[in-house]
Amino acid sequence: MSSSSSSDSDNDDIDLAINQIVMNNVRAAELIKELYDNNLLQDEVGETSKIPRGPRKDRGREEEHNKLVADYFAEHPVYNDVDFDRRFRMSRRLFLRIVNDLDREVDFFKQQWDARGVKGFSPLQKCASAIRQLAYGSASDAFDEYLRMSETTSMDCLEHFCKGIIFLYMRQYLRKPTATDVQAIYALHEQTHGLPGMLGSIDCMHWYWKNCPMAWRGQFHRGDHTGPSVILEAVASQDQWIWHAFFGVPGATNDIIVVNQSPIFNDLFENKALDSSFVVNNTHYNHGYYLADGIYPEWTTFVKAFRYPVEEPRVHFKTRQESARKDIERTFATLKDKWHVVKYPARVWTQRKLSLIMHTCIILHNMIREDEGFSHYPFDPTEVLPGEIETTISEEDRARNVNLVKNSERHANLRHDLSIHGSGKADVAADVAACMAVEIMKRLPVKSLIQFRSVCKAWKSLIDSSPFISDHNNVSQDHHLMIRYRPPCWQLGSEEEVKYVSFVDDDSFPQNKFAPPVPPILPSLYGSGIIDTSCGLVCLEGSLPPEGSSKTRMVVLWNPSIRKSIAIVVPDEVQSRSHRLINFGVCPETKDPKLVKISSKNDDDGNQVMVFTLSSREWRCLSSSNHLPRKSLAFGNIGQTVIGRFLYQFVFEGEFCLILSFDLTNEEFREVPVPDSLQQSFLTMSKLRESLVLIDYQERDSTTGIDVFDVWMMMEDGAFTKLFTIKDASVERILGFNKTGEPLVEIRSPDDVNSVLLAVYEPCLDHIKDLEICRPGLCFSMCSYNESLLLLDHEDGCIVSCGAVKG
């Protein structure tokens, strides 16, 4: 094993040579210092010494060398060029070039003999082993049988191969673009994407790190990823040449933090950058830019797509920007597919080795792009590369340069000029209008928006897009009260006679009203009723007419402002014994309607909770990690209330009454106590503006013989305060509250004892005013909603069957 025994002196040689690169190339200095300085002085913390050498086995390495030659490198090899390309990821020509260079320049790869005169591994074998490990991402001993190389030697090969590649090729194949390169890149992007001044696309990629030390996992693991990872920030041009690679930021961070740590703009900050000026839309810009996605900051060096493009040039620009930015995603995919070692979680133990492997893969990737003829960037080794000139700059100048780059105004101007550049139009007034159209449209009422979908193509696609639908919902819209009632001469089964009337809840109430056409499925449902409203959606439930013994329960989500509805089938269990409750709410963050079904199969199992989200169109069971309601809680079927992100309802523990809240964003249950003073009474809940209200009903005050209603409001700290008391003989029920906080009540008609009327109670005057609406009617119920565009992006009247239920 003479070849590996010389590795120590070899290491020093490389390190010396690398020091020379350090002298010449400042950027290489940053990287290579990081890579090697530690190594020269001592091993990185946590890096264990080599695996102890096992007993020598006579593997017959020389015969194996001959076999390898016969397989791939002989005059008439067993495997042809296609096979070679596939297994070595590169052409035979390029592979032999690398082997020859390494053989010549790096001692480790020279053919050597040990003291007994036994021949060591040939350069071919060592390179083949390293390439195979990179290409297949397999364990170091996976090729023992084929290449006859022990695990230890394979690992040595890989490390020296990486060092050798970086040492030999980094200056050329991972260089910063020279003046010639910049012009070539500009020409390429102008031709392929029509974007002048574009230097490439920037993005980050995560390389998972399986053997990340346990103590570091926190900083390397971000919640949306499956494990610890290390981030690579890269810039690629359209031909998939990688111009910049910055590797080693722990995976828990995001792209903004990476770009702030990255040396990518150091040249600009330190006045070392080349002149890469260009002109677009008659404006002169000093340096090129990179296309980036939404998370990147608004600097002059990034160009992002418009979030809501409305005017034609901007829509067009968004399309072009997004299709051009795919370059970097394509490059990452190519890199991972070529070098499986970066596709799978890394098994090495130190960041130093991760960095070596990543840089090697990128350099090889660029070499292959060039070898295969996709990229052609001529390189003169004697040329002084950008960044290699040492300059000094004062702190103030540097700070000024940083401010120039991080200027969002210039970012906006550049983006604007680029969008004009592609379209040939420059109408300032139209442009201002387009810019503000989104902000204005967010504030338009629903009906106008429905009409304005016809204004132009861009407006329609904007109004129909889900980010706009949810943004529109965040701006306060007109408030409505919907009243459901049925005529007095109503007979069981004639559901179509149930009336729904919607009133605009403003100063004019109850003058402005309309009767939206009810969802087509609703009249065919038995025992239907309103569950609740949330974010402009009214949720109703009912059952289809029974067929045999089975009964299908349906929930209808109805947006009366845009007159669209969706019906959802509720999954049925065979052994449903006691209660089954359906709750409804719209998650305020995602604007995703959710149904919550709570059922108990039998007394031992406790409560089973299933959640349906409209976006997934699936029912799934919640697990006990969501703090399911306790077994001992019994549900009273007396309605729910949604306020903000919480869904409230009453539950009972024996005689004791509690409020159970369900968080629509993280799907957790919690219990809210009800004050002792309210325990003995008959409670209902309702919503007053955006607060929870409890209505305490006491039958027949002992002295006056009149029913009494106390209205309690939950304050922010969870305590309840009494708002007012209604003492009036005619009041039957409180239905709900209008926008000004006055309760709508059902009163007994003074003329006819059997009929009821709808009235409003004015607390400050202690007076009841008959509204003279919805008469004659019975069984009033009421709900309030804000206008919204929810469901606009769904098909009207469709029925979602329950399908498979996810565990």
């Binding site: 906006a412 209008a433 159209a437 504030r443 016809s454 132009c456």
Partner: protein, 146 residues
């Protein structure tokens, strides 16, 4: 504490003076002041001088906080022209003056909400890029709204 004055420069190179403690109602200017310290002239290359004059009139208002809402409403009501309001809203968006932008956009929304499609296109300089048949098809999806 002495009152510092900032100078703002509009698109057509006109200069406007404003006291710093009033100017920093704009989040954009506040950030610029914080970062650059004592920079003398702040260029606003997307705002023309008429609009900037309006913005400065708004920033210079001396209103008690409880009357502020009404003042902003009145301020935009007096400038009932859609092009002016759009420029104003754009400037408020660039300078990040939330109240002014909200009010200006709300006013435009109020003005155009009952417009016909043709009027909307004219007001906001939008070209109709659909054939009458296509337009009718979209209308028919929501027949009730027309």
């Amino acid at each position: 504490m002495s009152k510092k004055t900032l100078t703002l420069m509009s698109k057509d190179k006109q200069l406007f003076n404003i006291e710093e403690h009033l100017a920093v109602q704009s989040v954009t200017i506040r950030n610029m002041v914080k970062e650059d310290g004592a920079s003398s002239v702040i260029p606003l290359p997307r705002v023309d001088s008429e609009t900037l004059a309006l913005v400065i009139e708004y920033l210079n208002r001396q209103q008690a906080p409880e009357e502020d809402e009404d003042y902003v409403k009145k301020f935009v009501d007096e400038r009932g022209e859609i092009p002016t309001l759009l420029e104003l809203a754009q400037a408020a968006l660039d300078l990040d003056i939330k109240k002014l932008m909200d009010a200006a956009c709300m006013k435009v929304a109020d003005l155009i909400k009952d417009f016909t499609l043709e009027e909307v296109r004219e007001a906001l300089r939008i070209e109709n890029d659909r054939t009458p048949e296509e337009e009718k098809a979209i209308r028919d999806e929501f027949q009730w709204a027309f």
